[in-house]
Symmetry: C2
DNA sequence: GGTCGACTGGGACGAGCGTCCCAGTCGTCC
DNA sequence: GGACGACTGGGACGCTCGTCCCAGTCGACC
């Protein structure tokens, strides 16, 4: 009923779409569902957007935008490389546990984007962005730990993204926090071993992999290395 | 037109559904699409199955079945633990590259299953099965390498499943074989380090992570450690 | 050879989907 | 204050979906 400029409608509609996609997945984002969630009429939708496809593209762009600003790749000085990476991943795990629907939606978005040829490049670009963010995070983490990478950081970053994806998927299925922490330990271990870390206290690796004391809470004070580097969006089914 | 018993119809319909799901994803599995693919009439569908939901459950069960028999967790004696695991994962990578649509469908199936409360347990159960398969594979691999696990094999198996999931997802997005091999190397490294391997030639881990000579083809002669342990199914959208 | 039941095709239903149209209404600017 | 154009609501279109019905037909068994 109030008179709202189309630009404002657009952001309201995208907001509504984001809520729907987290709640019901990509399939739940129909034009009627969106306008109902936003509390407006169907005509307003097609006044603000040319088509549902155009809307979907805008929605994806919005998600990408959001994820971008959620990422602050800062590390805590004074820590070794491995604990820094581990803390960053544990922080991501906290984020995942706090808003699982969102992360699941991101995965679904990616997968469905891969199905449509015109949206596939979008998924690729987004993952490139994840990798770039992870790369920056690993670089600063390496610097702060005084560690030198023995492989291209690009490679390590790609591995980090992959591990984080796997962590996400398996946790979403079984919600097993302890198991997820084991995955984080192993992942951090593997990635840290791609660099020479002078602070590494465990020259013989056989001693370290199971530090049961590690808990997710630690993450808060350290690197947000990967937060969002796996998060975010790509596309949706037709 | 030929007269076919309902039981045979059922397997034909499920066969058709499997083809469709690989081609178009879960959304493409409509009753009409299935009967068209199977070359029969709509009535036959509802004669063979009470409802689409019942059909979906049968479809999932069939996928599970198939994945089960695709798994032969055998190792190649004489190899160290790390190479054995790596070879197994590379073999999975070959499998993935050979039939990407299938693996993508499995992921989509899992994700959509998580959305419906009555199918969520199915996804959990399936992942438990993956983990059990991975566990058996890691156990035999450990025995053959003469290595002793320092963590519960269950834990290592869970990590293997997670890593394989991440490997799958990232490869599906960018199809970057070299990057995927780097992930495999890191993953195999991390998991092998959960055991004491007498055959491990690299006591200082800093020497080994980037053996550029490693190529996917090697996988054929060794353990199928993980093949199928991440593969397979759970459910579909309503 | 007749009967019974498993199986068949085709058409129809109500609901949801994306999209479009159109007559109205309000704010803005000359 | 009049005109123009941005914006509104409601209804309608053609389509696909899952499901159902029903009259018909074939094969197996007594």
């Amino acid at each position: 009923m109030p008179r709202i400029p189309a630009a404002d409608r657009r952001v309201a509609l995208i907001d509504a779409g984001l809520r729907l996609i987290a709640r019901y997945g990509p399939a739940g984002v129909s034009t009627r569902a969106v306008v109902a969630e936003a509390g407006m009429s169907l005509a307003s939708f097609h006044y603000a957007f040319d088509s549902r496809d155009a809307y979907l593209d805008a929605l994806i762009a919005a998600v990408v935008e959001r994820e971008q600003q959620a990422v602050l790749p800062v590390g805590a000085p004074g820590l070794g490389l491995r604990p820094t990476i581990e803390a960053g991943m544990l922080r991501y795990l906290d984020h995942l546990a706090a808003d699982p629907e969102h992360e699941q939606a991101m995965l679904e978005l990616t997968l469905t984007a891969l199905r449509s040829p015109e949206r596939h490049p979008l998924a690729v670009a987004q993952y490139r962005r994840y990798a770039a963010l992870a790369e920056r995070a690993l670089e600063t983490a390496g610097e702060q730990a005084g560690a030198a990478w023995r492989v291209p950081v690009t490679e390590a970053a790609r591995v980090l993204v992959a591990f984080t994806d796997g962590l996400t998927l398996t946790w979403l299925v079984d919600r097993d926090d302890a198991a997820a922490r084991a995955v984080v330990r192993a992942a951090a271990d593997a990635i840290a071993r791609m660099a020479d870390d002078p602070m590494d206290d465990s020259r013989d690796p056989r001693d370290l992999p199971d530090p049961r004391g590690t808990r997710a809470g630690e993450g808060t004070r350290t690197a947000r290395a990967d937060d969002g580097a796996r998060t975010a969006a790509r596309a949706v089914a037709r």
